[in-house]
Amino acid sequence: MNYLDLSIKEIHAALVERKVTPLDLAKEAIRRAKDSGDNCFEIILEEQALAFASSLIEPEQDNLLWGIPYVAKDNLSTKGIPTTASSEVLSGYVPLFNATVIARLKEKKAVLIGKTTLDELAMGGMGMSGHLGKTFNPYDPTHERIIGGSSCGSATAVASGIVPFALGSDTGDSTRKPAAYGGILGVKPTWGRISRYGLIPFAPSLDAIGYFTRYSIDAAILLDALAGKDAQDASSSDAPFGHYADSCLTPLAAPRILLLDDIIEAVRDETIRQKLKEAEEALKKQGAILTHARFGEDLLAAIRPTYIILSGAEVCSLDANLDGIKFGLHGKGQTYESAMKDARTRGISSLTKRRFVLGSYSLLGEKRDALYLRALKLRRKLVTRTLELLSGQDAILTPSALTIAPKFDAAHADLSEKDKAADNHLTLANFAGLPSITLPLGYSNGMPFGVDFMGHAFEEEKLFAIAHSFEKIVGICGEYAGFRKEKHGI
């Protein structure tokens, strides 16, 4: 048992009582990071982290994040620290500024010990398209299974107990899917709740800063630290925010929860089905008012193509700054066009390039109406349906994924493979900008799986309260690969 294995709140208590120091924690986290064979790091910041941790002497009683080690997805800008978004096109790029979330955590004196891998430019769900190759699921020592992406490195870092929390980003389901496959919590707050300034964007109308923790209370603590208006992000909201860490401890009296049957029925894994059923019963016992509904299969089938088109259309323009002139991989050529083309073609992998091209294709004059415009209409249709179902409810419950983490070779990275429509439902939260939290639900064949709660915009407070009660029902919170409570007799 190490202090690093506790919740942030518990580690904080130990720090305040001087049972452990930030330096001890940083050293242990770095040791674990170096020991990890799951390819989850772009860079381990040993020198900086130890120097910063050593400077933290007087514990700050009111600051729960003081001296807590963490990692950040490498699409978050870090001043003076290379930031590549796991793409060669940004090789050599050293930001001149910190992302707002990094700056806020620095103010809180949390200790950044490394930058983590992602699917290249956050465009992927398999955790395999980054320039360092595949990131592995720590629950599978044979390295056959994905942790999922795009926030693969951050998910693996938390799922293998390296750090108590990690920053990620979420455009389609990029924190919640990997959280489910890694048996940890993944949070995607309301669009605009956390400043995106300094996040290397994928699709701003869908993007959110997300994060991973192992305890629901930690998830609430993090939002306390990160939420709020930022003058540098004009889309950040000035809607009031709560004291999440305090309020999540009080259970909702009779939470109204809607279960989406067309998603639940698509689950084939008996263990997952069983656990979902048990969870439903337990929620009922706690006084939750449960309702069942169907989203509509034709609508579910529209999620993926809508997402591919809208995210692709946005990324086309946004990532046009990656031309090798101002930063990153510098192209060679006789003309400016050929030099730009060289940087972009060499710098961006084939898989990612295809996502871009599909976006660009959807915007072509001939295709714009049938693809881009139709996708924008579908977005409203899907959002309308989601809000209709959410109306009168506190949250919508779904299995985060239909299966345990698939194998790399079984889940083709081939974009147009007709994914099971029901496995893309987490993206609804991005379309509608709603908060959504994935929690660990259980294990099937030793591999974790999760459940997701999606709530109303800016009502993270309710979601955290639901999550906090639910985590007690499930009883596996805090676990990570190599640290299972039943094995440790907890």
Binding site: W191, L299, I325, A339, K341, T345, E366, L371, A432
Partner: protein
């Protein structure tokens, strides 16, 4: 039809300044065709055309204008620190013929 799609795929890639291999172009044509099929399927969703296009995740407005106060700019050294070749404090690119 497929030839026309390949032409459009190449145009779409050209707009992004990407070179495409034959293989990439072939895969993309297939992906684009599937995407179009899915969208044709989705077009059958009842009343879809009555929906207004939606760009932001929810109807949001702000009053967030920035007051006109300049901040300290980057130093020249910082500004050029990530660039490739620089000459006389400027970034050098191959000769651009104005168009």
């Amino acid at each position: 039809m497929d030839e026309k799609r390949e032409t459009l795929i190449r145009l779409a890639a050209e707009r992004l300044l990407f070179d495409l291999s034959e293989e990439e172009c072939r895969i993309l044509s297939k992906e684009a065709a599937e995407l179009e099929d899915s969208m044709e399927e989705a077009a059958k969703i009842e009343g879809l055309d009555d929906y207004e296009p939606m760009f932001f995740p929810f109807e949001c407005e702000s009053a967030a204008l920035r007051e006109d106060e300049p901040v300290a700019p980057l130093s020249l050294e910082e500004a050029l620190s990530n660039a490739g070749e620089t000459v006389e404090g400027m970034i050098r690119v191959p000769k651009v013929v104005e168009r």
